[in-house]
Symmetry: C2
Subunit: 271 residues, 2 copies
C-alpha cells in the first residue's frame, strides 16, 4: 500500500493515521490542529487529504458514512475505500448507491479503550484486535485483499464475514455489554451508598467501563437493532435470575456450576 | 516502618512483597521458589518470615485468615498485623479471638487485574487504588496509623470504614460486578454464535473480565452475604428491564436518559 488517507480523526481514525503514517482530515479545525501536534499529516481539505491515495479509510459515525463515501469516491476515483462504522448492514446497503466503478469494502476494527477521541488515539490500538471485513456490492477480490493487508499492517486480525453476521455478533459483543454495563453502573451508583466511589476497584471499573462511552455512540449501537438487543438483554436477565435463585436457595453447587460455565465462556472470548 | 513481612504470596501478597521489599512466606514450596526468582526474600518458615517484623501482612482467603492471624500473633508478638481478605465482618469478629495484647487492623486493598497469582504480581498494583482500613477490637490508634502509612507507601489511597460498611459496599463494588460479568459471559457465549470469539473486542473483554476470576474466589464473594447480593442482582435486573422496555417501545429519549445517568454514575466511580 503506497499511500493511505484517513477521514475523521477521532479515537479510531486518529489511531489508523498514527499506525499507518497516513495523511488525515477532520472537518473540525481544532481536531486537525491537535492531529498535527500528534505528528499526523493533517491537511485542511478533504480533497487534498485523499488526492493520490490508494486506500481511503473513513472513520465517522454510521449515519454519516454513506455521504462521506460518495464524496470520497468522487475525489479519489482510483482508491479502495473502507469505513470503520460500528454497524455494517446500513453501510453495505449504502454501497449500492455508489457508482459502479467505486471499490468499497466495509470494515470494523474491534478496538477501543478507556479514552475517547484523538487524545486517546495510539498507533498500537489495533494490535492483536479483531478487524471485521465485510464485502459489499462494490468489493472486488483485489480491494478485499488490500483492506486485509492494511489491517494486518496495523497488527490487527482480519475476520471476513457478511453484514448480517457482523451485525448479529455485534448485538452480543458490543451493544449488549454496553447495555449491561450501563444497568450495572446505575444499580451500583444507587445501591452502593456514599462509600462506593471511595472503594471502587478495577473490577467495578472494568465491568462498567462501557457505561462511560459517549452517549451518542451508546444510542447508535442500542438502536441499531432494538428487538435483537432487547432479546439479548432478556437472556442476561434470565442468567441473573439463575444466580439470584441459587443464592436464595443457598445452592453452592449450582453457583459453582454457573461460575465455571461463565469462566469457560470467558476463555473462548480471549483467544 | 522498618521491616514488613507478607504471608501468602499470590497476586496480592506477592505485589505487597514486591512493592514494600518485604520478606515473604507461602506454604507452597513452588510459590516460594517462584517468589525468589521474582526477587522476593521468600524464606522457608512462617516463624523466620515474621521474626522481628514491625508489620505483618497476611494475604490468604478469608476463611484461612483467623487461624493465620493467631499463628502470626504468637510468632511476632510485637508486630502490627493486617490482612487482605475480601470480607471484613468475619475477620473483625475473629479479632475477638486474638489475645488482648495483639495489635490487628483489618484491611482490604481494592486491586486486581487480568492475571492471577504471583505471576501477575507487581509492585505497582496498588498505585492509585483504594485500600479499605477497618479497625477491630484489637486496633489502637498507633496500629491504624502504621497500616495507613504502609498503604500510602505502596501508592494506595487508604479509606477508613467499619466492617459492616465495608461488606455492604463490597456487595455492590465487587460481588455484584462478578455476578453480572458471569451472567453476561454465559449469555453472550450462548447467544453470540460461532463468530463471537473471533470478534470479541475490548468492550466485551472488559465487561466480562471478572467472569474469569478463580471460581473459588467468585464463590467466596457470592456466598459472603447471599441475600444482599440477590437483592443487588434484582436491582440490575430492574435496570435491564428498563432498557429492554425502552428498546421495545422505540423510546430513544428514555434510552438517552438511562445512558446519561449511567455515564454520570460511572464518572463518580473514577475519582
Amino acid at each position: 500500500m503506497s499511500r493511505a488517507a484517513v477521514v475523521g480523526l477521532g479515537l479510531i481514525g486518529g489511531s489508523v493515521a498514527l499506525g499507518a503514517g497516513a495523511r488525515g482530515y477532520d472537518r473540525e479545525d481544532g481536531v486537525r490542529e491537535h492531529a498535527r501536534r500528534r505528528g499526523i499529516d493533517a491537511v485542511d481539505s478533504l480533497a487534498e487529504a485523499v488526492a493520490g491515495a490508494d486506500l481511503v479509510v473513513t472513520a465517522v459515525p454510521t449515519d454519516e458514512t454513506p455521504a462521506l463515501l460518495r464524496a470520497v469516491a468522487a475525489l479519489a476515483p482510483g482508491a479502495v475505500l473502507t469505513d470503520c462504522a460500528s454497524l455494517k448492514r446500513a453501510v453495505a446497503a449504502a454501497a449500492h448507491t455508489l457508482d459502479a466503478g467505486v471499490r468499497f469494502v466495509a470494515s470494523h476494527p474491534m478496538a477501543g479503550g478507556r479514552g475517547h477521541g484523538l487524545e486517546a488515539a495510539s498507533g498500537g490500538l489495533f494490535r492483536g484486535r479483531p478487524w471485521a471485513i465485510v464485502p459489499t456490492a462494490r468489493s472486488d477480490d483485489g480491494a478485499i485483499a488490500a483492506v486485509r493487508a492494511f489491517c494486518i499492517s496495523l497488527g490487527a486480525r482480519p475476520v471476513l464475514l457478511d453484514a448480517e453476521q457482523h451485525d448479529h455478533v455485534m448485538t452480543w459483543a458490543s451493544h449488549l455489554p454496553q447495555a449491561v454495563a450501563s444497568a450495572l453502573a446505575r444499580a451500583a451508583g444507587t445501591g452502593g451508598g456514599a462509600s462506593l466511589p471511595d472503594l471502587a476497584g478495577p473490577g467495578l471499573l472494568d465491568a462498567t467501563r462501557l457505561a462511560g462511552q459517549p452517549v451518542s455512540l451508546a444510542l447508535e449501537l442500542a438502536l441499531a437493532d432494538p428487538d435483537a438487543l432487547a432479546r439479548a438483554i432478556d437472556a442476561v436477565s434470565r442468567e441473573l435470575t439463575g444466580v439470584s435463585s441459587a443464592l436464595r436457595r443457598g445452592d453452592a453447587g449450582a453457583l459453582r456450576a454457573l461460575f465455571e460455565d461463565a469462566a469457560a465462556a470467558r476463555r473462548t472470548f480471549e483467544r
